[in-house]
Symmetry: C2
Subunit: 456 residues, 2 copies
């Protein structure tokens, strides 16, 4: 039975074209599993179903427990057969023909997916254990062999370069993400807890039939990079860091961070640091263009940040040396961004195979080691650009890191920025033929605009 | 490392008392697994973690991947050790001593949970496959033997009878649920899609640090019992059925359905049918008291509904015979309710072992077969009471069911209620020493109140 299908999304033509491109690139049969909703506390109370991104990409619809099989260029989607009792609980469900029209290929009952149909099929390892068990049972082997690696490479090559339908999906996600951030700024005031703003932001998505693309970060403790607590009261003088993105109905992700003053007005020090982060972000965005190496985009942001910190007196020394030694990572410990697509960290289920070009490996240096992407950019890739400035206690008391910085860190000057715990500014950027397009440019970002929206 | 711990909930004394009661009731060691957040699209983007209800009950806090071990009355909670890198991403996390104070027993690193500590331990099968794999690996066997059944019976006996802390949790959930329903009524108007109301209802929970206890149903197609689509526009003349409940920060569930007119005013036929369902619900609530058999509460609702339908001319014949033959199930096909606790269908992970008293089994009759609870009620049990009236196309064209009804179904009279697709009215009810307390009594229910709130 087809569960929780969203009728607002159906791109049979785009899905067919994607399958054709995959068949041309990868010889031999392929089986992609949609996965299933894991139980939250008992089987009848599952988490909301979210199909595997690979399945979504090549089918368009998230059909729970379905399997896409491509062989000799022919695609078939096998779906769980409808139980007559389901109609009572779930309403009328589309038949095989109706589904076939929606996905642009044959649709058959899952009972017909016999072992011989899967003989020699390559697959991609599912993320959930239940589907992994099913993969092993159906394929008679654990996924992960050379054939599967070859399939992964073919899928990565396709999904790296967004087609028109994908870009439309990213634009839809950006629209929902903008609505969320505007709602969040409007809901911010001194007094309530962070959860109050989170609720407003997520409601803007839910009202659009969307869902958060990842666990929202809405926090006055921006120095905790992945803070998922929402219980702190918002106080006068706090900055609120909101890393919140919408997932479109078709599964495409938005990923945006804005940082705004709870009171509606930055302090002088907050404004100074905000403008510095913003200038680093703009410099990194300007560096996004076909042929640019993403690690250099990252280093552009690092240099801009260091330059500003030297100007402020917080750091001393040569900017290039500071960056080469990783001193910037005292304040900007993470990467400048990552791939964006159906996943917020697109294709991260495939590990660095997706984010790192062949032959490139993660650095061992603190800071650079967290960079999730190091490819040469090409038109129609989408990435995030999200530098930040944080005062993380665990970092600022780390002897090894402080040793590298030595007297290039000026604690007395840093102390002046005590009211800046964390600032991050993040946009979603599409690489174009002649540069870039910021997909999330509509979300207030200039300090005056941010103040105006947060104080309205 | 302890992830996403909610600092707002800690009842070390209650948890300790529960563990003592379990140790008194179940001889031999026990191991309860908290479980882990399943990945949504890749491991770093998980669903929000929700601990196993059994673990939550005996520990109080949801600690991801932790294991509670009770042996000879001594309890230890084993937790994943903190990785130093975690502090950067997740902020300062509580140490073992701090955690021990929060849960009222020893807390040790999971690495100390060696096989000999688990020798002969009974457990309850986890709901997610990843934790099931871990259970098999740690215990050296698949859960589900007689020892585990004995543990299940002991846990059921305890969780059936809510202690003070549990009742406080249910009251908190009721409070969040009331806020959601009031927000939903206030947000309803002709024009927007159902998702607009869903967003308002869930935002009321999120703002309180709560979460939906189950997939919200917010639909103008109430005849689809588990409708999880939200894309229909709300039109003048529609009824909006909202089955929405909050889960408190400690994990306790609310589960309430209200049905209100989109326009703010019931039509005459809608009002008639609404009042009938309400009278059936009130009759069933009145039947809730210590010693009452829950199936009889269900049948009370069935009789009240049939009596009303006979008075309206929709059904003909003797009320008791109609109910005995299951004719009411043409319009009220599900059970009148279920256990309520940490799970919305409390302990449904244990199957009918929890809902059905020993020696009682599900009926095979359509309608009664969906009854999830058949126990004799005792003080401090909590149940839902949720009769409904639906015109389900799949039922009203089912030859076998229509054959049983024969000419006792009067289609012409039924046709007058064409603008009633589905009405359900549901409250959460605590059995008291001398009867019952409706925990969700604050949520508007009388037709005038519902109209007033929906039109405000």
């Amino acid at each position: 039975m087809v569960r929780r299908m969203d009728p607002s999304v159906a791109t049979p033509r785009a899905a067919r074209a994607r399958r054709a491109r995959l068949a041309a690139r990868h010889r031999g049969p392929v089986a992609l599993f949609a996965g299933q909703a894991p139980p939250r506390n008992y089987p009848d109370a599952p988490y909301p179903f979210r199909a595997s991104s690979h399945f979504l990409y090549f089918v368009g619809l998230g059909l729970e427990r379905a399997v896409l099989v491509i062989e000799d260029g022919d695609a078939t989607v096998y779906v769980v057969a409808q139980d007559p009792a389901d109609e009572l609980w779930l309403g009328p469900v589309p038949g095989y023909d109706e589904l076939a029209a929606l996905v642009g290929c044959d649709v058959r009952p899952l009972t017909e997916l016999t072992a011989d149909r899967l003989e020699g099929a390559a697959t991609l390892l599912a993320v959930d254990e239940a589907t992994r068990l099913e993969q092993r049972a159906r394929l008679g082997r654990a996924p992960g062999g050379p054939m599967d690696d070859a399939l992964a490479d073919a899928v990565i090559a396709l999904r790296l370069v967004h087609d028109e339908a994908a870009i439309a999906g990213l634009r839809a996600a950006a629209e929902g993400t903008e609505a969320a951030h505007r709602a969040g700024m409007a809901a911010t005031r001194v007094g309530p807890r962070e959860a109050h703003v989170r609720a407003a932001m997520e409601a803007a998505m839910v009202a659009r039939g969307m869902t958060p693309a990842y666990g929202s970060i809405v926090t006055v403790h921006g120095e905790v990079l992945h803070n998922h607590a929402y219980h702190h009261p918002m106080r006068d003088g706090d900055l609120l860091l909101c890393d919140v993105g919408a997932e479109s109905r078709g599964g495409w992700a938005g990923d945006v961070t804005r940082t705004w003053p709870v009171s509606g007005a930055f302090s002088a020090t907050q404004r100074t640091m905000y403008e510095l982060v913003l200038s680093a972000q703009r410099a990194a965005i300007e560096a996004v263009k076909p042929g640019a190496r993403y690690r250099d985009v990252h280093l552009t942001a690092c240099r801009a940040l260091c330059r500003g910190l030297v100007e402020l007196g917080v750091l001393r020394g040569d900017v290039d040396e500071l960056v080469a030694d990783g001193v910037h990572a005292l304040f900007f410990p993470h990467g400048v961004g990552h791939l964006l697509g159906l996943d917020v960290h697109d294709m991260e289920d495939l590990g660095d195979r997706a984010g790192y070009a062949p032959g490139r490996e993660r650095s061992a240096q603190f800071g650079l080691s967290y960079l999730r992407l190091d490819r040469d950019l090409t038109p129609s890739m989408a990435v995030t650009i999200e530098p930040g400035f944080y005062q993380v206690p665990a970092i600022l008391r780390d002897a090894a890191l402080l040793d590298v910085a030595g007297d290039r860190l000026v604690r007395d000057e840093l102390a002046k920025f005590a009211d800046v715990r964390g600032i991050r500014i993040e946009d979603d950027v599409l690489v174009t033929e002649d540069g870039r397009e910021v997909l999330t440019a509509g979300i207030p970002k200039d300090p005056e605009d941010v103040e105006a929206c947060a104080s309205a």
